[in-house]
Amino acid sequence: MTDTTASAAARATGSGWLGKLEGKISWILLGLVGVALPLLDDSYIGVIAQRAYIYWVLSAGLNLVVGYAGQIAIGWVSMLTLGAYTTAALAAGRVGPEWNSYLALIAGGVMGAAFGVIVGLPALRLRTFYFAMTTLGFATIVTQVALAWKDITGGGVGTPGPVFSWPFEPGWGFYYFCFILAAVSTWITANIGSSRYGRALVAIRDAEVAAEASGIAKPRLLMLVFLLAGAMGGIAGGLFASLQSYITPDAFTFEMSVLFFIGILIGGRGSILGPALGTIILTALPEFAAPLVQWSTFLYASLLLLIVLVIPGGIADLLDYKNRRPLEQHREIVPRPELLARVLGEQRGETLITLKGIALHFGGVKAIDGLDLEIRGGEVHGLIGPNGSGKTTTLNVISGYYRPHNGTLKLDGVDLPFEQPHLRAERGIARTFQTPRLVGAASVLENVMIGGMVQGRATFTEAMLNLPRHRRDEKEMTEAAMLALSTVGLEGLAHVRADRLQHSELRFVEIARALMLQPACLMLDEPAAGLSADEIIRLGGLIKAVSRAGTAVLLVEHHADLIFDICDRVTVLNLGKVLAAGTPAEIRSHREVVSAYLGA
């Protein structure tokens, strides 16, 4: 058993949709071309290449914001502008004494980082379209300010860009500077992309509620990527100013924002290689076809429309031949509950979740009207009741989404906070959802690893630089995820894109993700819906085994069979109140329960 999971884990690293620098061959080729280009001694091509590198430094950062986190930040040229003017003004001595160009470049990065956070803050509160508008507005403002603040920016007349000293002096020296920074940008963003932070970003993008339940704190993570993307944009700006050797406000056009943005989307979200290729293509294209220069933005826009309508996944999707291999038709899910002891780790002692006197109303409707409930470790506690009786609402209160107007919720005697659902994961409370909430574009294994978010120890910086603690994290998390998948019987589908799976398989993937938390309490929201009779029996066996391993299980269900088969205790809700509570046998013969269901 150890052998299969270890070798499976070994196979798992290095491949996968968000895999570390997928398409290693392509990167090696690009690198070789980049290093060898100066041999052509063609300064025109050199300039195009430098421009592509500089745009990629910005786009690599923006890729984390747009491609991974899914934030529609259209006006990102503002970072380029800020970085360019900061670097140029400092190096030219417009603000105090003349700065060393390299230090000025770093200052440009810092400026970009600061404004990256400022521009990103509205993303936490605003709807998508509104946020997109604010980024556009900001880009316009920056250009306007550049026009007006003549002392610093030279106004409409402009200002000279910084000149770097040996070894990166103008010419091929600077070329290698841009190349190196582009390579570094690729490396750090690829590291983030394939780390738990990258997976968390994609989870925020595609399955926000599930991300919260897995312990992912959206605000902090988004601010980190906006900071990084802003810094990279600022540095790209400084390089840009140097390449142009003289900058004016109208060098920073809306079309550039469009180019960066579209390059990422054409390349495909959640990928590093795709956007890199996209950016290179869009930069180089107009240079090689003269009439295209005028029509370049039109071309970008029509490409974007085409992508959105036809291939939303972009180039990366087209290149993903691994996920086009047909899957076995009649797949069976065969869980292996005997692996649970290893998955769940050491038990924390007898868990107890108590709800006392919980009351909650929405508008005038009493969703929960005085609820007492106890969920014990080692037991499966069923929660049933007619539609609208408050089952899912109860689950949501325990998950921390709603604050009740009355009552207490305690875990092992300690009060649990409300309206902070992302804190539940670290307390060992895991859940699944009525409709499976997974990241369709990511692989099954990556989806399960999202559940490992709170177990990771490496910081964002350690992940970015691929330091040993991060590598150890990844290895352990991959092994744990493969183990969880084996437990639910889906290890064979580990590298398949999640949206190719059948509905019943998705339910078991959610359970595997929940198991990653090594939960003291596991809550399941109607897991049997849509499953075949066989699958329900296997599901029942798995749930029972989870409880016997010490976890407290709360099972919200409609399926009478499942409830009566595996529950140790059952609570029946009706109109937000407890109608009856007891063993399944007691509930089954309870007259009032039957009446409530039959509606007499």
Binding site: P386, N387, G388, T435, Q502, H503, L506, E526, A529, G530, H558, H559, A560, F564, R588, V594, Y597, L598, G599, A600
Partner: protein, 250 residues
């Protein structure tokens, strides 16, 4: 059982109906019939697929299988066409347009009716529920839950449907109002409109219908006449235990 004589051809014939949401299959291979002027109850525990079945018949969801209505095939029709064919679907949760007046709500229900006849048919529908007729110019948001439910049922009547499908009209209503709504169902049946009634309140539903289907876990598990003696216990079995299917007593 309906014979093959033309006068006994069922109004609604559903066979092999399968439907769900995205990848989730909720209904498997459903077969049922409703005769002209017949009132039929569709019972079953939550999650069984009752609402899904209504949505599949009226075309609000994609589905496979065959649906024939009044001699025509509506297997692939959308909601607009099924309304034109003569089916009215009163959805769950008394969803009326709160920002419009009672009268406007009813006018909209008559969108497909010829303009000359529209007002008259709206008045007909209002006549079923004098309580809301009195509030015809008030915005629907000022109506109580029960009144909104009556308005929703009245909406279903404007186009003079041959089959009226009601999804849990009693939900959230006091017993008195439930009786009012179900009394309207009786009147409709007497007037020759077929009714398909999804309900949680079994006894009240059985009192106004001719036949009953029970749905559990996406399949029909019971079909019986409303008056049969041991129906209650058979339903209990169907909900909580082994499937108990009994052929319709002929």
């Amino acid at each position: 059982m309906p014979t093959s004589a033309p006068s006994k051809t069922p109004l609604l014939q559903v066979s092999g109906l399968t439907a769900g949401y995205g990848k989730i299959v909720v209904l498997r291979d459903i077969t049922l019939t409703i005769g002209a002027g017949e009132a039929v109850a569709l019972l079953g525990p939550n999650g069984a697929g009752k609402t899904t079945l209504l949505r599949a018949v009226s075309g609000l969801l994609p589905r496979t299988g065959q649906i024939r209505f009044a001699g025509g095939d509506i297997s692939t029709a959308g909601p607009r066409d099924t309304v034109r064919a003569g089916i009215a679907h009163v959805v769950e949760g008394h969803r009326v347009f709160t920002q419009l007046s009672v009268f406007d709500n009813l006018l909209l229900a008559g969108y497909g009716v010829a303009r000359e006849a529209r007002n008259a048919q709206v008045e007909e529908a209002l006549a079923f529920f004098p309580e809301i007729a009195a509030k015809r110019n008030d915005k629907a948001v000022t109506l109580s839950g029960g009144q909104q439910q009556m308005l929703a049922v009245a909406q279903g009547l404007v186009a003079r449907p041959r089959l009226l499908m009601l999804d849990e009209p009693s939900a959230g209503l006091s017993p008195v109002l439930v009786d009012r709504v179900l009394a309207a169902v009786s009147r409709l049946r007497e007037g020759g409109t077929a009714v398909l009634l999804v309900e949680q309140l079994i006894e009240k539903a059985l009192a106004v219908v001719d036949r009953v289907y029970a749905l559990a876990r996406g399949s029909i598990v019971l079909e019986a006449n409303a008056g049969e003696a041991d129906l209650a216990s058979r339903l209990e079995h169907a909900y909580f235990g082994a499937d108990v299917s009994a052929p319709l007593a002929s």
